[in-house]
């Protein structure tokens, strides 16, 4: 059974009086431990698809659409269960990092673990969680920047913090929306190397949305989107974390 399965997803946005179809019947299945790239040009609907998969948005009704995580559809979950899904099952990485500017690096990572914890649970597990956040930041190469504010970091460093935050709650699946889209090629490559390393270490399931074929090539499988439909789904040749992409 796939860990995440999407069936016949439609999504239309309304811009003024105009209805703009973004997804027009997308189906997708992701196996545990798999790394899938969703490749497409700007406006192809790939970010919308990611938002639907993350439970941040809902597909249009009336098309027998559904998204199932571990065999249970997101639509059947209550608001609280959906919040819980985003907290524990999914880790999100964005193109523009989306860090809290007021929080230092360590707290930006820790906040993910605060969302799902009761005050008592937080108090009792605080030390362990701090250690995990610190270890994650060390893993992404920011062990020396724990108390810096995001504004003091480079773009690549900020994205590393965002990845550490996404991994903080040990999610079943990591969803990354153009994680290298805002970075230069070299920095972007180092971020992909980092994701390679994470996957190699933990068999982390990943869905990476990208417009860059080179980025997509580092995935196990590439799903190509165009005009809101899946036009191609290709298995890639497995690449080593230190491969020639970048």
């Amino acid at each position: 059974m796939p860990i995440l399965a999407a069936h016949n997803l439609f999504k239309t946005y309304q811009l003024g009086k105009t209805h703009v179809p973004v997804l027009r019947g997308v189906s997708l299945s992701i196996e545990e431990g798999e790394r899938v790239a969703i490749l497409g040009r700007s406006g192809s609907g790939k970010s919308t698809l990611l938002h639907l998969l993350a439970g941040l948005d809902t597909p249009d009704a009336g098309h027998d659409s559904h998204i199932a995580f571990d065999g249970r559809t997101l639509a059947s979950r209550s608001g609280r269960e959906l919040d819980d899904y985003r907290t524990r099952s999914v880790g999100l990485v964005f193109q523009f990092y989306h860090l809290f500017p007021e929080l230092p690096v360590l707290e930006n990572v820790l906040i993910a673990s605060m969302i799902g914890k009761s005050r008592i649970a937080w108090t009792t597990s605080r030390q362990a969680l701090r250690s995990r956040a610190t270890a994650l930041l060390e893993q992404v190469g920011l062990g020396h920047r724990l108390h810096h504010r995001p504004v003091e970091l480079s773009g690549g460093e900020r994205q590393r913090v965002a990845i550490a935050r996404a991994l903080m709650n040990e999610p079943r699946i990591l969803l990354a929306d153009e994680p290298t889209g805002n970075l230069d090629r070299q920095t972007g490559s180092s971020i992909l190397d980092l994701l390679d390393g994470v996957q190699a270490q933990t068999k982390q399931t990943m869905v990476i949305v990208t417009h860059d074929p080179a980025t997509a090539a580092r995935a196990d499988r590439t799903v190509r989107l165009a005009d809101g439909i899946v036009v191609e789904s290709l298995d890639s040749t497995p690449t080593s974390p230190t491969g020639s992409h970048g």
């Binding site: 993350a54 941040l56 948005d57 919040d83 985003r86 989306h98 929080l103 707290e107 799902g116 914890k117």
Partner: protein, 564 residues
């Protein structure tokens, strides 16, 4: 496992509230808005409350706690009533039918003192020919002082320290008054010793030595504002002026108008008969013994105090033998020796003794005794007194027995209404704080749209987001209110120095003692008011944050994440 909202929510909210509060100018501005509003309301309330308190304290002067009154014609046997009142040990205070008792058990010894008084209206002729209407209070100074602290209101007396605002020491009481000969019989004109103590004694005894006749005469004590001869300076002291008077030949005479030294006034009164009809105007010249100041302009401008006996005489209320003319008649007289009966012409004319009368008796209760309880007790005592004098004194039900608050209800009510109005207006203005917090929060929510998107993306609930902003409003309310309390305490404690500084530095004098009558700006900061205002500030802040909080919780996370 997912924890309950209340249990799980506050951890990230506490972190973000703390970080937001300390890292942005917006929350500082919101807190300042709340601080200024709470300060404004607290300072206003305290000053107005202080104003009322001073007025109430002042309003008690010269009136005692309770007045038993039968105006105009007055009532007799008042000495007996006073004895009854002063002898009262409060043994039988029982609530009247249908009235709730204000005390659980009969209080004992409610009354400290009682004093007779005649209150009537009169006209004063002043040395420069002007006349002023005054309320006359005929009193026995010793008993009057026991009931009203009359001595404490006497203004012209020795003074060692200048008044708080009298920086230039222009108060004449600070200097020796050397006209001892004007005040003390037998003193030589060049006696340089201080005459202020003699003037104070004159005031206490309602008498003054008259240099013309060489006699000590009954005298009046006027309110400091009655004659208009005392100039009240900005520092709140009185300086006697000289008055120019034009005589019938067109000459201008300069009159010394320091009334307690050598001034005289002519008092005109209209006595009334028992049916309240005017008899014949009485006029008499009185020297002025001293002047009093109660801080209630109404009294200080319009009251003259004189010896009870003198006013009784003028108003025909003193004890007198009166011939009561009856119809002529006949009577049968039996000779005791012979047993013979004779018819004699007989006159029913009788020489009767009319006892002295007063219009009222002032009563002073012990400290802390509720004036209403005291009034009830006075009503009972009067009822017992009236029962012993049927037909001779007014019935208890007819008597006007009032507490000092009831007597001053006019001006107390006016000030209370003013306070309520000012507070209402200022509370309305404080709603500005709500709008201010609302607009600041609205803009902060807009600014933090992306944060809201991130929080939703990492699993924060809608309620959690709403509570984050409400909590933020609460924090700003608490910080702003506490700062407001600090600032208002500083202002209230230093309101007079601040006012003086404003006067010196900017020439602004908001509280002019020559207009507002008190030399110091009063204030009365009470904890119940403080808690109410601080609570209000916090609630207003949360209310201001409510709409932005709801807006934040309803944000579409995808749109929020795309917000630039």
């Amino acid at each position: 496992m997912h924890q309950g909202y209340l249990n799980s929510a506050p951890v990230y909210q506490a972190l973000l509230t703390r970080r937001y509060l300390t890292s942005k100018i917006m929350p500082l501005l919101s807190s300042l808005a709340v601080m200024l509003c709470t300060t404004m309301v607290l300072v206003t309330w305290s000053v107005m409350g202080g104003f009322l308190k001073v007025l109430l304290d002042s309003g008690r002067k010269l009136v005692g706690d309770v007045k038993i009154e039968w105006p105009n014609t007055g009532f007799a046997y008042y000495d007996e009533l006073i004895r009854d009142l002063e002898a009262d040990s409060g043994l039988t205070v029982t609530p009247r039918a249908g009235q709730r008792s204000t005390a659980a058990s009969p209080p004992k010894g409610l009354i400290i003192a009682a004093a007779p008084i005649i209150e009537s209206f009169g006209v004063l002729g002043l040395p420069d020919g002007r006349t002023v209407n005054v309320m006359l209070k005929g009193v026995e100074p010793v008993s009057f002082d026991r009931v009203t602290n009359y001595y404490g209101t006497l203004w012209w007396k020795p003074l060692k320290e200048p008044l708080p605002k009298d920086d230039d020491k222009e108060d004449p009481r600070l200097q020796n008054l050397t006209r001892v000969d004007m005040l003390i019989p037998g003193a030589v004109p060049d006696d340089k010793s201080d005459a202020w103590p003699a003037m104070l004694e004159n005031g206490k005894n309602l008498q003054r030595y008259h240099t013309g006749s060489g006699q000590v005469k009954p005298a009046v004590v006027l309110g400091t504002e009655v004659t208009g001869y005392n100039r009240r300076s900005a520092s709140g002291v009185y300086v006697p002026m000289r008055s120019r008077s034009r005589d019938s030949d067109g000459n201008i005479n300069l009159l010394s108008t320091f009334m307690p030294l050598d001034g005289e006034v002519t008092l005109h009164v209209l006595p009334l008969d028992k049916k309240g009809r005017g008899i014949e105007m009485q006029s008499r010249i009185f020297p002025v013994a001293n002047e009093f100041k109660t801080d209630v302009f109404l009294f200080d401008k319009g009251v003259a105090i004189l010896p009870l006996g003198e006013l009784q005489k003028m108003l025909k209320m003193d004890a007198a033998k009166r011939l009561q003319t009856g119809k002529p008649g006949v009577r049968i007289v039996k000779d005791p020796k012979t047993g013979e009966e004779k018819i004699e012409m007989a006159s029913q004319d009788q020489l009767t003794e009319d006892p002295a009368r007063v219009t009222g008796v002032l009563v002073r209760g012990k400290d802390g005794v509720d004036a209403r309880v005291l009034r009830d007790r006075c009503e009972e005592i009067y009822a017992e007194f009236a029962a012993r004098h049927p037909g001779e004194v007014p019935l208890a039900a007819s008597m006007n027995i009032q507490t000092w608050q009831q007597q001053n209800a006019g001006f107390i009510g006016a000030v209370e209404k003013e306070i309520a109005l000012v507070l209402f207006l200022f509370s309305m203005i404080s709603l500005v704080a709500v709008v201010l917090v609302l607009s600041i929060f609205w803009s902060m929510v807009s600014e933090k749209t992306k944060d809201i998107g991130i929080l939703r993306a990492i699993g924060a609930s809608k309620m959690g987001i709403a509570w984050l902003w409400l909590r933020y409003g609460l924090a700003i309310g608490i910080v702003g209110s506490i700062m407001g309390f600090g600032l208002s305490s500083l202002i209230i404690m230093n309101i007079n120095p601040i006012h003086e500084w404003m006067g010196r530095a900017m020439g602004i004098q908001i509280w002019d003692p020559s207009i507002y009558y008190f030399t110091q700006i009063p204030s009365d900061l009470r904890w119940d008011k403080v808690l109410l205002v601080l609570g209000g500030g916090i609630i207003f802040s949360v209310l201001g944050a409510l709409i932005p909080a709801i807006r934040a919780s309803r944000m579409d996370p995808v749109r929020a994440l795309r917000f630039e």
